[in-house]
Amino acid sequence: MPTVHFTDAEGVVRDIEGNAGDSVMETAVRNGVPGIVAECGGSLSCATCHVFVREDCLDQLPEMDEMEDEMLYGTAVDREDNSRLSCQLKLSEDSDLYVTTPETQV
């Protein structure tokens, strides 16, 4: 079972078991994890599913494509080197991801 460990801006951790093939964003939304808004439903149009990925998990992830990179310039909390849009992060069977949600997505 893939697992995502969500830490919010206040430090509260939620460990969520997901399904391979789902995105980190879908995993959050289906399980009511706060801190991920995902207004557009994954069409790379809103930048409200921004997460910071723990450095040692980055190599588990697919490469960032140009459009994700562009949209990260539109996040409410400024992007950092470990920023990703969680709608683009698909889980595999053995995913074990640690991500932090920003203080706000607005």
């Binding site: 069409s43 149009s45 930048a47 562009e70 310039y73």
Partner: protein, 425 residues
């Protein structure tokens, strides 16, 4: 793309969907206050076949979001089809004028939609329009100061601010002539009326001429970009094509045909509605004046409570079910986002305007899924700048006789005719 009038005669299935004589008070083209009818529809008949427009009217939040999400069953191909079939004169004018536009993106389907949206999205990025922020702000300040200079201390936010600002912005982004705001607004009004209006054959004629002119201008802009290049979105799309992106000149012109309409029309409405609704709740407006950081959340609440587009169409590509009601293949739907946004099942006290509402952003005013409004961030940015500058320059603005504000007749677009304001010396 078959016009909805073909199915207008009767409900093909009828099981529970047939409308009662009163249609629960719903009047498809009346926009002044559709909300009591929406509430009754949600309560009494959340999926109602309205034989007057040939559409299944869907009014609950969960049903609407599910339809938006299931693009494989519910196609957007009818989103830009004329609600009232084009009359013979209009048809002739448009044919002779070489009018071949239909949709830039919103009524296209995958894989074509996916291909074109990918190209356009790369040219319409946050970086591209964030650069314009100081320019937009200056434009807002100039417009506001001109309005506030009126010695009679009366203005119209629609006309004096909301009309110009987003139009100048999109014309600049696209590389069109910013001196032609009135012309583009005229074409846009015609587009809204011809597609979503309730026009007679006669009434369509001037609008048909406008659409011919509008489409010619879109095509001309693409030719100019080929000949001269430029630092704008049109030139970027042409350059993408030259670098191998799969997009034709007709498709680029079609994208312009979309953006030179959608890129300002709905933002003019958003800025107008934001001011109208906030000034109608003076204690909440006062909160924004005192703490402008609350403005972005307030804009989402305006989008929820009074969105620019309150209804949008889809077409079932196979037999389907929505909210327990059978929709036959070919059945066309009208998703009432304006109703979904007040659904008590999603929004507690949904009929109340409350800028501190924590889930206002779950509104469906920008749609949901693959067709989610491309311009959502630019629209909100402009509304935010407008409210920030009004709060700074005219914190004591008052709404003048708000009950008298009329709204244009339209199936989808809920547009106030004016937003009259006054202020103390």
């Amino acid at each position: 793309m078959s016009p909805s009038t073909e199915t207008a005669a009767r409900c093909p299935f009828g099981h529970g969907a047939e409308a009662p004589a009163g249609h629960h008070g719903y009047q498809p083209f009346q926009m002044k206050d559709p909300f009591p009818a929406y509430a009754e529809l949600r309560a009494e008949q959340p999926v109602m076949f309205d034989e007057r427009i040939g559409l299944y009217v869907v009014s609950r939040y969960d049903d609407i979001k599910a339809v938006f999400d299931d693009w494989e069953t519910f196609s957007s191909e009818n989103a830009q089809a004329p609600v009232r079939e084009r009359g013979p004169q209009a048809k002739q004018i448009m044919e002779e004028g070489g009018f071949t536009a239909y949709s830039g993106l919103s009524a296209r389907r995958p894989p074509e939609h996916t291909r074109i949206r990918a190209v356009v999205q790369k040219a319409f990025t946050p970086r591209r329009f964030k650069v314009l922020e100081p320019f937009i702000r200056q434009n807002v300040v100039d417009q506001l100061e001109a309005m506030l200079a009126n010695p009679e201390r009366r203005g119209d936010i629609f006309r004096d601010l909301a009309y110009d600002v987003p139009t100048v912005t999109i014309l600049t982004l696209i590389g069109a002539d910013v001196e032609q705001v009135d012309t583009f607004k005229r074409w846009s009004d015609s587009r809204a009326a011809m597609t979503w209006g309730d026009l007679s054959d006669e009434e369509q004629i001037p609008h048909a001429h406008n659409l011919v002119e509008y489409w010619q201008e879109c095509q001309r802009l693409v030719r100019v970009a080929h000949e001269q290049g430029g630092d704008n979105l049109t030139a970027d799309l042409v350059k993408a094509q030259q670098d191998g992106a799969e997009i034709t000149d007709h498709e680029i012109a079609s994208v312009l045909y979309s953006m030179l309409f959608a890129g300002h029309e709905t933002t003019t409405t958003l800025i107008s509605n934001a001011v109208r609704v906030l000034l109608a709740h003076p204690e909440q407006w006062q909160q924004l004046v005192e703490d402008p950081k609350k403005i972005p959340a307030a804009i989402d609440e305006v989008l929820r409570y009074s969105g620019s587009i309150v209804g949008w169409r889809r077409k079932a590509l196979k037999d389907a079910e929505v909210g327990g009601v059978k929709i036959p293949e070919g059945g066309q739907l009208l998703l009432l986002m304006g109703s979904a946004n007040r659904d008590e099942g999603r929004f507690a006290d949904g009929e109340e305007f409350d800028i501190s509402r924590s889930n206002a952003r779950e509104h469906l005013s920008f749609g949901y899924g693959i067709h989610y409004c491309l311009g959502n961030m630019l629209a909100k940015l402009q509304a935010k700048i407008a409210l920030e500058e009004i709060a700074r320059l005219a914190p004591n603005l008052k709404l003048d006789n708000p009950e008298a504000i009329e709204f244009r007749e339209n199936l989808s677009f809920r547009v106030p005719e004016s937003v009259p304001v006054t202020w103390e010396a």
